[in-house]
């Protein structure tokens, strides 16, 4: 269901005018209230009055994760503490977390965009939302909670974990929508199967899943195992939390609620704004935030924008699924290469172990690209030609994806280094300049 037809189906031209007005207001607010922004604007030679429409956004400086960390905890707040009614923060796996604040009105805006998200996912006021996102400093739990209440649904604030209880509640309370990370959804489905509970027979109809990248094949698995429609949702605390964008029932990209958050996609090297349907780094500017306005925030998430009309009737532009992070991006012979592109090819080759290493080197001033792949019992053959054909096949498929020649090297099992945390996928041996 469409929660707010007026906003979500607003003619594109009309929204552009609205965005232009809101952008001018935000820029002025940042310049006047946040010294960090004043300094950035001054250094860039930009005055608030130079920004007359959304077209002028390209003149504004970017905000990075480092800016937030340097100004930890409250250095980028635009209102005095007495107007702040809530604080959230990111997990901050490396060093200081990123801290964000909300005014009363920011919380209302957040509830509004989350109500839209829940509507996009299929639910409305008659639904029962089982909220298995963690409550706390993480934005997932309370974001879903306020949105579900705003849309008039019944919320079960169960939070994450205790999977058997999740399943019991699902059965006894008749939850119709599940909200959690996609990997937890799969875990719930598998646990239910082990317990002999057939989730497909329960009233559960919808799932809104986010907070981690996932694939269409995982979506299909969740949809089949649970008998639901699984919707991808996106957000990050720096912008507001969940509620930045959401897929609709068409499932062809996530509508960005761009009357509140203005999206751009840039080339992470040249920082130039890219046209629609061109992959690059997502950048957001908040248009209505009071406590923590943010200008051209570089998310490091890779996606693209799609501006063609969506059959659902919403006019919000859409972004594609997150395909990776700029942190992982390699530039090889001038081409942007993401490990995820290579990984997706390898995942499509049956019997190839998920362990691989991308080795980049420079030979005679030319970048070389090798992909090391572990051989499994399944693909191993006693015939050289079979293994060589396998190498060639993977090489061809990677080349067709990247447009770069690559050498695939078969390796013995367990020879590629394992890691407890984030797997190390790239070995860049090129001399650093």
């Amino acid at each position: 269901m469409i929660w707010n037809k007026e906003a979500e189906c607003m003619p594109v031209e009309q929204r552009r005018e609205l965005q232009s007005a809101l952008l001018q207001k935000t820029v002025r607010r940042c310049y006047e209230k946040v010294p960090v922004y004043r300094k950035k604007f001054d250094e860039a030679g930009i005055k608030p009055e130079d920004i007359r429409s959304v077209d002028d956004i390209k003149y504004l400086p970017f905000t990075t994760r480092e800016d937030l960390i340097e100004n930890y905890p409250f250095g980028m707040f635009a209102v005095p503490m007495e107007e702040i009614v809530r604080i959230h923060s990111s997990s901050g796996t490396t060093g200081k977390p990123k801290v964000v604040g909300y005014t009363k009105n920011d919380i209302n805006v957040w509830a509004e965009v989350m109500a839209r998200t829940i509507g996009c996912g299929g639910a409305g006021k008659n639904d029962i939302v089982q909220n298995a996102y963690g409550y706390g400093l993480f934005t997932g739990g309370l974001g879903i909670h306020y949105g579900a209440e705003k849309i008039g649904a019944t919320v079960i604030p169960i939070s994450g974990g205790n999977t058997k209880r999740q399943i019991m509640v699902m059965q006894d309370f008749g939850s119709t929508m599940l909200a959690c990370t996609p990997s937890y959804a799969l875990y719930i489905a598998d646990t239910a199967a082990e317990m002999g509970v057939d989730i497909r027979k329960l009233p559960l109809k919808y799932g809104i899943f986010g907070a981690e990248p996932w694939t269409d094949s995982l979506r299909k698995e969740i949809e089949e195992k649970m008998g639901i429609r699984a919707t991808d949702i996106y957000g990050l605390s720096e912008i507001i939390g969940p509620g930045v964008s959401s897929e609709c029932e068409v499932q062809n990209g996530l509508h960005v609620f761009d009357d509140h958050f203005l999206p751009e996609v840039i080339d992470p090297n040249t920082l130039e704004v890219l046209p629609p349907n061109t992959p690059g780094e997502l950048v957001f500017t908040s248009l209505t935030k009071e406590a923590f306005p943010i200008i051209r925030y570089r998310t490091r998430d890779l996606s693209m924008l799609m501006i063609d009309p969506c059959p659902c009737g919403r006019t919000h532009f859409r972004m594609g699924r997150i395909t990776g992070r700029t942190d992982d991006m390699l530039i090889i012979r001038g081409v942007n290469v993401f490990p995820s592109q290579i990984e997706s090819v390898l995942l499509g080759v049956e019997g190839i172990a998920p362990h691989y290493l991308i080795v980049v080197d420079r030979v005679d001033s030319l970048d070389s690209l090798e992909v090391w792949v572990e051989v499994s019992e399944k693909v191993f053959s006693d015939e050289i030609k079979v293994l060589e054909a396998l190498e060639k096949r993977i090489e061809r498929e990677i080349e067709s994806v990247l447009g770069l020649s690559v050498a695939v090297r078969l390796k013995e099992p367990k020879t590629i280094e394992r890691s407890e945390g984030k797997a190390k996928r790239v070995l860049d041996k090129r001399p650093k300049t």
């Binding site: 051989v375 191993f380 053959s381 015939e383 090297r409 099992p413």
Partner: protein, 143 residues
């Protein structure tokens, strides 16, 4: 008449072959025949041993990728034209040889050639019909 052969995937790295041989030796497994086929990046070691199940386990426990394949062992008269007579017997039936390797057994005058062919039963029939001596597995393991 099928003989079990072990194939092992090896990266082209010094010492890997020695590791295989060492692991088998310390478990008292005797290598009857071997061949190593390699490319610039990797090699496939093919072995015939006296205790295939034990050898397989020893190597798998060491983390090697091991595959068992049926091959045939043929006694080839140690004289000019000896090998040709065997190959002709297979060629006459249009049987394709995937690979082969040979070794000379010290207690006999004859050479032994190991064949890996697509359709092993057909191959054995073709050889036997031409009067060629195909060894049994027991004969080979006990060489």
């Amino acid at each position: 008449m099928k003989v079990k052969q072990l194939s092992i995937f090896l990266e082209n790295q010094s010492g890997r072959l020695a590791e295989v041989a060492g692991a088998l030796g310390s478990e008292g497994i005797n290598i009857r025949a071997l061949s190593l086929a390699d490319t610039s990046g990797f090699g496939i070691l093919r072995l015939i041993v006296n205790d295939i199940a034990k050898a397989r386990k020893v190597l798998q426990d060491k983390g090697f990728i091991v595959k068992e394949t049926d091959v045939i062992a043929v006694e080839v008269p140690d004289c000019p034209g000896g090998l040709a007579s065997v190959l002709n017997a297979l060629a006459a039936e249009k049987i394709n040889i995937e690979y082969m390797y040979a070794f000379v057994e010290k207690s006999s005058k004859d050479a032994i050639v190991i064949f890996r062919i697509e359709n092993i039963d057909e191959g054995i029939r073709a050889l036997l019909s031409k009067g060629i001596n195909v060894l049994t597995a027991e004969q080979v393991y006990a060489l």
